[in-house]
Symmetry: C2
Subunit: 573 residues, 2 copies
């Protein structure tokens, strides 16, 4: 893993400088100290909440300094406690005369250095208290909660303390509420892969492939057990069950939830896990309040995640919901719809598809020939699936054949038994095609089919009407894809076909015959895409010439036109 | 890289379900479609801004749906455009009668599918417009801006369009402003390592170790060149120079900035790069406005970053600054101190150290003996550095020797030429020691030295005074570390020493002699820590017994006590 740095020895200092440079609208540097304080702090008569610990956990700790949250953060080196001297300096800078609360995760280095500063400040007459966060259920058994480490639950304790201080509570109250938040909060973490310190070439620790470490700490501290890697649903179940087993005495029925990523396990994955977490909590009779899914306490580039629950009482909930504005976390002001925060169970999850029905033109007759043509086209591309895939693999990702099959299969299904004109059936088929086929081909074919159908409805199904509809289809493809004849795309097949069809139709040839005779022009057009210079993907970078290989879209268009021609009735559609 | 999923085929659907379950306070599911819309939308008479694209880029695109930003997002599979049908359905759901603006990054699949939906909606009489984002300077040369891909600059275009729609602009105006934002925005990205799709065991692409791909796209599209990996300062220079070279026509002097991480390159690293980015922009005469450093457009777990600049005019700045509330990005309301957003150059970066001077007790005499003792202690731990490191490596991280040397070196430096009593010198030395040594030892030793100094000042420097001061030091260590005699720590050395000293002092023995005779008890105590069972780190997990090895702290304490004793004057300090 490459990691960005200049001199690793000055990494922390440069990080703090960059942080303050970026977020000067929220924070300022504490003069002559490794720490930051909120703009406008200290406020005379207001309790200051100071958090801190080692770097490498952003947004913990400096990212949550700002109005309504922490007043300051003391910043240690990567994974190392700040010194007592630095804590002392930040504390002196933030003394507003109403006392200071320290809050940080329970690690011996932090406990000692913050402890030293606390002693020293008390010796100077300041009122300083400490609430150590101990949310990690894996680090000590039930009954020995005070020995536990602090991990992502830090965030809730800081948030509650910060909100209490912001509303003007005195130090006794801020301390009591922070303690209550900590007592109500439980976290369990999982690690899937190690993290690498700046300047190092090897990770700090590693996790055996195919396994995960249950309860591993944010610096790689030993967990409860090594387990085989589980699917997302299994991970959700494990996390929820272990946390509910450890629910605090007298826990209520409302929980705030953090689904936290440690660095390399990303948002999309966290949402997949949260899907089951939310359901399992609801099944357990809990109301999920205002969850956060993201990165609130990280471990550099560690792969892993953690789940945090804070059981709420009405006062914790009020402080949890209170506004805040910090570099990494803001809440409140505009748009925070409190009324919409309730229960995952209440969130309707729509079952996809059907009901868009109403948006299609309602018509009453015909369409059998079109359905026949769609079935023939499906058969044809099924037969050519492998060939089309092979052609596509030269310059693309090799899925053109499978996309065409998916598209026509869905188009056939969507129009089966659908009573409408030829045009209406085609419009429906086009939408279904592009939805199922995906990618550029899905869009191009889908829009061609749709435009062709709209053209037939507008112009009729005799040869001149079909010609105008074909021209509409060609126009749709051109305007969507921007390709012209000679660009080695399906336009090279379709354009000559439409031209030839138009000539026949103009001289009175019926649609079926005009279609058949125009196929020769389509064949010539498809053949002209041989020896293409691919304009797509990596081949383009390499300037590779893909000799002897036709464009897959030009080829599939030929197959489709051939198949469709078979379905045209003797005298118009 | 392990990636979390259930069935990869249903990853996207489960991700959307989890997202809506988590953020129901901001968004709701569009019925029967792969998309989300803001709670409370559509608003009659308000333009709707719809964004979208493939998944795998969170918070792009669904994470920026909410008040003041996008009204809806259409969500494709990982790295794949949503279908035209899905875009159509989301558009129908968000039609508030005042028209719809589509905005998304310039990729052929997205252009086609959104294009299809646009045609279809226009066919139904809706007013739909499109502003495609083309901020990636690496993807086409100057003069061919419209061919460029869209990457992190998406965010600014969405933000400007969303804010314009939110304040009530009509569709013409929203479209024009989005176009203006796009024209004013430039991004360059770097990739250091590939990303892995859910369910895959191999990354989608890889980057040669020791190199970086300049201009690589967010799906691994080819960039401009492969370069050797640069330090953070070189990365900053490269990004800033290339973007300034490509500044838009008529660019002003104020820029909004996004320092964006692609997934695995984390916040701390981004801040280190931003430190130089901010300076270089200021050096170029630009005022940096309200930067964002974080993850706004990701690429699963890709290692890499990008820098985005949007050159501001007064209207773009107003819309940029307007409030927003979405799952992944909120601005405004409480605490957004507009006045504090200016120029990186204006942010004072403190030069560390010195000035904390004032916080030390001002005293006037003595202290030579203490300075002598500190120098002797430094010599002693320098001599024992390797031995202490070896002892520490058995159960810890092997840095005890180097930490002790750092600590005493700084303590000596900090007290050189400092005129104060013995106690005052020790207080100063303790603070310097713990600041420099770091870790638990730094805290324990530092607090012991400080407490000893405070004790001497309070009790005097005759033998009974020294005894009380030693008791204070022992008490400080105990309360900070929580260790008792027998726990195999430095308390095992210090406690018997203090006890023995007290006995001698109680029977009238002067300080120097009492100290010398107490050293035997310290030696016995240090020896008692052999065969310790480590309580720290991995050894604890394994239950390893570390035979024949003394505790490093107990050992170093013995050396320090011996050295200090040599410095005590014949009759009191």
């Amino acid at each position: 893993m490459k990691r960005i740095t200049n001199d690793p020895a000055s990494f922390k200092e440069e990080m703090v400088e960059g942080f303050v440079a970026a977020y000067g609208r929220y924070v300022k540097r504490v003069p002559n100290a490794s720490g930051v304080m909120a703009v406008g702090s200290p406020k005379p008569g207001k309790v200051s909440v100071i958090v801190g610990g080692g770097s490498g956990h952003y947004p913990a700790f400096c990212g949550v300094v700002g109005e309504g949250l922490a007043d300051g953060a003391v910043i240690g080196d990567i994974f190392a406690s700040p010194s007592g001297e630095q804590v002392y300096r930040v504390t002196k800078a933030l003394d507003g005369g109403a006392g200071v609360l320290y809050s940080y995760g329970n690690y011996s280095g932090d406990v000692m250095h913050f402890g030293m500063a606390e002693m020293r400040c008390r010796g100077e007459g300041m009122d300083v208290r400490t609430v150590v966060v101990t949310d990690d259920v894996a680090s000590a058994p039930k009954g020995r909660e005070s020995e536990r480490r602090g991990i992502a639950g830090d965030f809730y304790v800081f948030k509650v303390a910060g909100a209490a201080a912001a509303r003007g509570d005195d130090l006794d109250s801020v301390e009591e509420l922070a303690r209550r938040a900590n007592a109500a909060t439980r976290t369990l973490g999982l690690a899937f892969g190690g993290c690498t310190l700046p300047g190092q070439s090897e990770p700090l620790f590693s996790v055996e492939p195919g396994t995960m470490e249950v309860g591993m700490g944010v610096h790689g501290e030993p967990g409860i057990e090594t387990s085989e890697m589980l699917p997302a649903s299994g991970i959700a179940k494990l996390l929820v069950e272990r946390l509910l087993d450890d629910a605090p005495e007298g826990a209520g029925s409302r929980v705030a939830v953090i689904m936290n990523g440690l660095g390399t396990t990303k948002y999309e994955e966290l949402f997949v896990i949260f899907r089951d977490v939310g359901r399992l909590l609801a099944d357990a009779g809990l109301t999920v309040h205002s969850p956060e899914v993201g990165e609130l306490v990280t471990s550099l580039d560690m792969a892993g995640c953690s789940l945090t629950l804070m059981w709420l009482d009405s006062e914790l909930e009020e402080l949890h919901d209170a506004p805040a504005a910090t570099p990494a976390f803001s809440r409140g002001g505009l748009g925070y719809a409190k009324s919409a925060t309730e229960s995952v169970a209440a969130t309707p999850v729509a079952t996809p598809d059907e009901d868009a029905e109403a948006s299609f033109a309602e018509t009453t007759s015909g369409g059998d020939a079109v359905r026949d043509g769609l079935r023939r086209a499906l058969e044809s591309v099924e037969g050519a699936e492998e060939e089309l895939g092979r052609l596509d693999a030269v310059a693309g990702d090799g899925d053109h054949g499978s996309g065409m099959v998916r598209g026509f299969r869905r188009a056939v299904e969507a129009t089966e038994g659908y009573g409408g004109t030829a045009g209406a059936v085609l419009v429906r088929a086009g939408a279904a095609f592009s939805d199922a086929a995906g990618g550029a081909s899905g869009a191009l074919y889908g829009s061609a089919i749709t435009a062709f159908g709209q053209g037939l409805d507008a112009n009729g199904t005799d040869a001149p009407g079909v010609h105008r509809a074909l021209e509409d289809a060609l126009k749709a493809v051109r305007s969507l894809g921007g390709a012209e004849v000679g660009d080695k795309t399906l336009v090279d097949t379709l354009a000559p076909f439409v031209g030839a069809f138009g000539e026949s139709a103009g001289s009175g040839v019926p649609a079926r015959e005009a279609w058949q005779s125009a196929l020769a022009a389509a064949e010539a057009g498809a053949a002209s895409t041989e020896d293409m210079i691919s304009a797509r993907g990596r081949a383009a970078k390499l300037g590779e010439r893909s000799r002897g290989s036709r464009d897959p879209g030009a080829t599939s268009m030929l197959y489709v036109l051939r198949a469709a021609g078979e379905a045209i009735p003797q005298e118009g559609a």
